[in-house]
């Protein structure tokens, strides 16, 4: 039974936890972040991000009261930044689940110090993504309940379950729910730690309630470990399915440039790619601000860079394959769609995407880039941008010129498009900052397990 517990046959070098920390140190280090006043930077940061969040709410209000017309969407480009942002955010979410679930199944112990934050990132990314499918509809006040299979007395109609958009609703909401469950389950022992460390009544009460009276008894650990394992087992296919289903939105359409069987794997790879880029972006900053260098070591970051390099190359390969198939298919519409992508009105977007997603990650072949947080932060930003453009290129460049040249058009965003997107970034960061402030950002119980295991091996080495 794979479990959280120590695996003696597992080799750990270099040590994942450095600076000769004890169990108590781990508790202290991690809990302190939530117990003491945060550093100045935190206040500056949250001030900015919460303003951006307010801007988001402003834009959405304007949108709902006025109509989709406040965005740049048009005929033929029915989807613009809205769905681009949706896919981008969902993709980012995937890294969290991947780290917490898949790496867990593969016994990648190095995940332990980053999985908690990564899972949080998943939740907040999915929350940001969730805004778009709802608000991109012309009548969100109807969509909000007509998109779920609830009996309605209005027309007594049911949903059309053949629609990929319907699959999306199920996939995304399932994904959000399961991630939340997984995350909370992981939190329980650490919440108990905070409870037991709590000095003032409020913290005692809050964490007392949240930790559900966890005692850390062997009998509890027994069920807990299995539950965690099963959740990991369920999340793994789930995370793969979610972006596959998102890609069906395009793959099942008749549109040249959308109607492609390669999309599911290509989208999943892209998701992991962008997700890891985002984790690196956040982690490099977090470990610098909270000096967690001993817990989030270079080894962690380097491993993530390797994953980025791998997935980045897969994505690059996917781009190449698309073009080959377009040519090989002999379908004139298909061929045109791709030539138009690379050399049409949207070529600027296309080449931005290629640069950021295919060229930039290749720098990770050099260990300097894999081991210097500042450098990998910059590269990660590039990849975030590149992956946004990938979705934009797929959506806009395929839509703006399809079958009948008479209906061709062009998409230009409005200020509302831009502010809405910026707003979701603000909301995402706000949530993440709050998480850092109030919840254990690192899974203490898991770290302690790893620590114990290290000590074992050191002992073994001495004898």
């Amino acid at each position: 039974m794979a479990d959280l517990a120590i695996d003696h046959d597992f080799e750990l070098s270099p040590p994942l936890v450095q600076g000769g920390m004890t169990y108590a140190d781990v508790s202290e280090k991690v809990s302190a972040i939530t117990e003491n006043k945060p550093p100045k930077q935190w206040y500056y940061a949250i001030a900015v991000t919460s303003l951006m969040t307010l801007m988001l709410f402003g834009c959405l209000t304007y949108l709902v009261t006025t109509g989709i017309g406040v965005w740049g969407n048009n005929n033929p480009v029915g989807w613009g930044w809205d769905i681009t942002n949706f896919v981008w955010w969902i993709g980012i979410g995937h890294a969290g689940t991947l780290i917490s679930a898949i790496l867990f199944l593969f016994r990648q112990k190095w995940r332990t110090s980053i999985n908690r934050a990564a899972e949080a990132m998943t939740l907040f990314a999915v929350a940001s993504a969730g805004i778009y499918p709802l608000f991109h509809t012309g009548r969100p006040w109807r969509a909000i309940y007509w998109l779920f299979p609830l009996p309605n007395s209005y027309l007594h109609l049911w949903q059309n379950f053949r629609s990929p958009l319907m699959w999306d609703v199920f996939a995304v909401s399932t994904y959000a729910t399961v991630s939340a469950l997984f995350w909370f389950t992981g939190l329980i022992p650490d919440l108990a730690t905070l409870r037991d460390r709590a000095t003032n009544r409020i913290r005692k009460l809050v964490f007392g309630l949240l930790s559900l009276g966890w005692r850390g008894s062997a009998s509890q650990w027994r069920h807990y470990e299995l539950a965690y394992l099963i959740l990991a087992g369920l999340s793994t296919p789930l995370v793969l399915s979610v972006h596959s289903i998102v890609s069906f939105d395009f793959a099942t359409a008749v549109l040249p440039g959308w109607h492609t069987t390669i999309f599911p794997p290509y989208f999943v790879a892209g998701a992991i790619f962008s997700g890891f880029a985002m984790v690196v972006t956040l982690m490099t900053v977090a470990r610098w601000v909270y000096n967690l260098e001993n817990l989030i070591t270079i080894k962690h970051l380097e491993n993530m860079c390797k994953v980025i390099l791998a997935t980045g190359s897969i994505v690059g390969f996917a781009y190449a394959t698309e073009f080959f198939i377009a040519w090989y298919s002999g379908n004139p519409y298909e061929r045109f769609a791709f030539m138009n992508r690379a050399f049409g009105p949207y070529c600027w977007a296309y080449w931005t995407m290629i640069t950021c997603n295919v060229v930039v990650p290749q720098l990770f072949w050099f260990s300097k880039f894999r081991t210097t947080p500042a450098l990998m932060f910059i590269l990660a930003i590039f990849i975030n941008i590149g992956m946004w453009f990938e979705r934009f290129v797929i959506i806009a460049s395929s839509l703006h010129r399809d079958f009948l040249p008479a209906s061709w058009g062009y998409f230009t965003p409005t200020w509302v498009d831009i502010c809405t997107f910026a707003g979701t970034i603000g909301m995402f960061l706000t949530l993440f900052l709050l998480f850092l402030r109030f919840l254990p950002a690192i899974a203490m119980s898991e770290i302690k397990g790893v620590l114990y295991q290290q000590n074992q091996q050191q002992k073994g080495a001495h004898e």
Binding site: L4, M166, T193, R197, A218, Y224
Partner: protein, 195 residues
């Protein structure tokens, strides 16, 4: 004679006799998981059955050491997942082909192919709920009171201590003897914990 023995016990003064004490058990505190495991094994061989260990992280093999059966959670999850699968199938078939028939894109009213994604998603969703709620049920969570918390250093269990409790419910339980036994096994601080 028993009275004189009781006087020596470091129990709260207001307690007259051990017989009157409603007690959870004796809890000892060990320095490392290894000591804890050793203690457990000894006590088991000594025939103790009602033992409980507390640790900040799960320790490999402790379950076997305590002789606990395999967790039934797996079965719960499978049932839940299958329930999800069935409900997805039922939902799509009934709404599409029975309750409100609509010709859409000339496709059949119900077909398996387009139903797969939702079937899959609901399977996962129900399964996940099965896992979490099942675990809560088996662990009796939430439980906001447990006599273990009366142990003066119970908070160590979530920090850096490895505790062993011999519960009063154990037929071989004798407060004093257990205490000395635990001390002899290397417990740094042994306590008789009241219920």
């Amino acid at each position: 004679m028993s009275t004189s023995f009781l006087d020596k016990l470091p129990v709260p003064a207001f307690l007259k006799s051990a017989a009157e004490i409603k007690c959870y058990g004796v809890v000892g505190d060990f320095e490392s998981p290894d000591d804890l495991l050793r203690a457990i094994r000894t006590l088991r061989t000594a025939g103790f059955t009602k033992l409980e260990a507390y640790s900040p992280f799960p320790i490999h093999g402790i379950g076997e050491a305590l002789g606990e059966p395999r967790s039934p959670l797996g079965r719960i999850v499978i049932v839940a997942a299958l329930l999800g699968l069935a409900s997805a199938l039922a939902l799509q078939w009934w709404t599409g082909a029975v309750d409100y028939k609509l010709v859409i894109a000339g496709k059949p009213l119900f077909a398996l192919e387009p139903s797969v994604p939702i079937m899959f998603e609901l399977t996962i969703l129900f399964g996940a709920f099965g896992a979490v709620l099942g675990m809560f049920h088996l662990n009796r969570l939430p439980t906001y009171y447990h006599p273990f918390f009366n142990y003066s250093q119970s908070e160590g269990a979530t920090n850096d201590r490895f505790l062993l409790a011999v519960e009063a419910a154990d037929p071989k339980f004798r407060g004093e003897e257990v205490r000395t036994l635990l001390d002899s096994l290397g417990s740094r601080h042994t306590e008789l914990v009241e219920a």
